[in-house]
Structure formats: structure tokens, C-alpha cells
Symmetry: C2
Subunit: 157 residues, 2 copies
């Protein structure tokens, strides 16, 4: 399955979002490639796994080509062993806000302390409701790319 991913990313001001979340998943992910023109990610989320290929980001940092396929979890485990160093672990909360759902990632391990909220939009200028826990926008800031966090984890900033 492929689509154009349009999303904006924010830091958060408080963890009150946790009370509003309707779902919490544990994600483990590694990269078979972290090149900005073509990342290849292996992700295990609960009892599901995926390979995701993403293309280069547009200048504003808001959109990129994304392709994804489901794969067996056991095979994903072996593929994660092949990945570049810097496996990411995080909790992902799904938080409904107005007509949208924010995905809020609370990183673990070497990225502990980092919490980032993302919202996927239909088009770049689509309006959305900003909850009171939403902080500074960091869309397009490459340090916050998950592929970058494998190399320069948040605790080393």
C-alpha cells in the first residue's frame, strides 16, 4: 500500500495527553537504510510487523511518499537483527482531538525524555484543533526524524 504522507510534528507541554488517549502501543523499530532519499524501516507494533519505505521529504518537511507492507513478526525480528545500529523503542498513544487523531510517541532507551506528537493531514493547509498540551512545532527539523534519532539519540543532544 502506498500513499503520500502529509504530517506535522510538535513537541508537547505536558503529559495530560495520556488521559485522553484511547490506545497505547509498544513499538520497536530499526532501519535497513537511513538515507534521506529512501528510508527502509522494519517495525514491530504489538503483535504486528511492517516494512515501510519512505521517499525524500519535500522542502517544507511536510510530505513524502510512503509504501508499507505487513510481514510476519518472527521474520521482522530477524530483519531487525540486520538493521543499522540504533534500534528505537517507544510507546505510541492515539489521542483524538476534534476530527483528528494525534499519534504521540514517548521514546524509551537512549531517547528517553523525548515525546513528540504527530498529526496526519489530507493536505498541507488543512486546519486542525490544537489541544492545550501541544507545544512548539518541529515539522521538518531533521533531528527529530526517527531515522536521525537512531544515530543521535535525544539523551546525547
Amino acid at each position: 500500500m502506498e500513499h503520500l504522507e502529509i504530517e506535522r510534528k510538535f513537541l508537547i507541554l505536558s503529559d495530560t495527553f495520556k488521559k485522553e488517549a484511547y490506545q497505547k502501543d509498544r513499538l520497536v523499530q530499526g532501519y535497513l537504510n537511513t538515507h534521506p532519499d529512501r528510508t527502509v524501516r522494519v517495525r514491530i507494533m504489538n503483535h504486528e510487523a511492517f516494512i515501510t519505505v519512505k521517499g525524500p521529504t519535500n522542502t517544507a518537511g511536510t510530505s513524502r511518499f510512503e509504501w508499507e507492507i505487513n510481514i510476519p513478526v518472527e521474520e521482522a525480528t530477524n530483519l531487525i537483527d540486520l538493521c543499522e545500529t540504533g534500534i528505537l523503542e517507544k510507546y505510541r498513544y492515539r489521542v483524538p482531538v476534534g476530527r483528528h487523531i494525534f499519534e504521540v510517541d514517548e521514546f524509551l532507551g537512549e531517547n528517553k525524555g523525548l515525546i513528540v506528537a504527530e498529526i496526519e493531514l489530507q493536505h498541507e493547509n488543512e486546519p486542525f484543533e490544537k489541544p492545550n498540551w501541544l507545544g512548539k512545532e518541529v515539522t521538518g527539523d531533521k533531528r527529530y526524524y526517527n531515522s536521525a534519532l537512531t544515530k543521535k539519540p535525544f539523551t546525547t543532544w
Copy 2:
């Protein structure tokens, strides 16, 4: 699907193998990563497509972890557009010899003139019949890796 790929690779002495082939396919393939520790290949073969991840090769150059999944051809076409420069095109002949099948790749484009025969084995020392068109063994010679041919095509050697 994952397995340990054990194979040996040879140059050829003549193209008489073509008369012995029972199948000829046209392959187009690109790489989302050519790192020797983890190659990610997108391949279209006739009306089928695959993503294949391979791990590092053992010291002898004979075996490596391989994982593969079928994907829709149309999606593969878009993924090939994302690949590193150096898309490979080749004909693949399947040639039965004794109890084995040789896959003989006749490269096109910038690798025109290169023909390589491969045999997949169950274990490294498995005996196999050598047809009279089989030439020098090049197993483990990194120049002949398909991922290397994208960067240094045969016609530039």
C-alpha cells in the same frame, strides 16, 4: 519467507547454454540499499515483483541470509523510482544440468557483455555436474555482486 542462500557463481565459456534453457525471464531490479551488511532489492520479473533483503556474506562468499516478499508490480515500479542510481536489466535463463538448475544472467544496458551462471546448493560442499559451457568460478568476487554492478557496470571495467 527467509532462508540461508548458499550459491556459487561462474563465468561462462560459450552461449550454448541458451539451447538447453527451459525458461527465459526478463528482470529489472534496483536497490534501496547496497550496503554489504544489508542490501534491499526491488525486482520485477515478468509480471511478478519482490522485495528482497540480504544480510552480510560469509568469508567464503558462498552463503548469506535472505528474506523475500511478493509485492504488486505497480508498487514495485514506484519503489524502483526511489532506488539508488544504476537500475539493472537482464535476461535470466534457467538451465537444467544433472539434478540442479543453473540460473544464467545475461546483462543488458551498461552491463552488456556480462553473463554469469549461478547454482544454488543445499550445503557448501554439495557436488554438482559442471556443463562444458561453465567457465571460471567468481564466487565471492565482489565486482560481480549485482549491487556492485549498479555502481561499477561491466562496460566500465
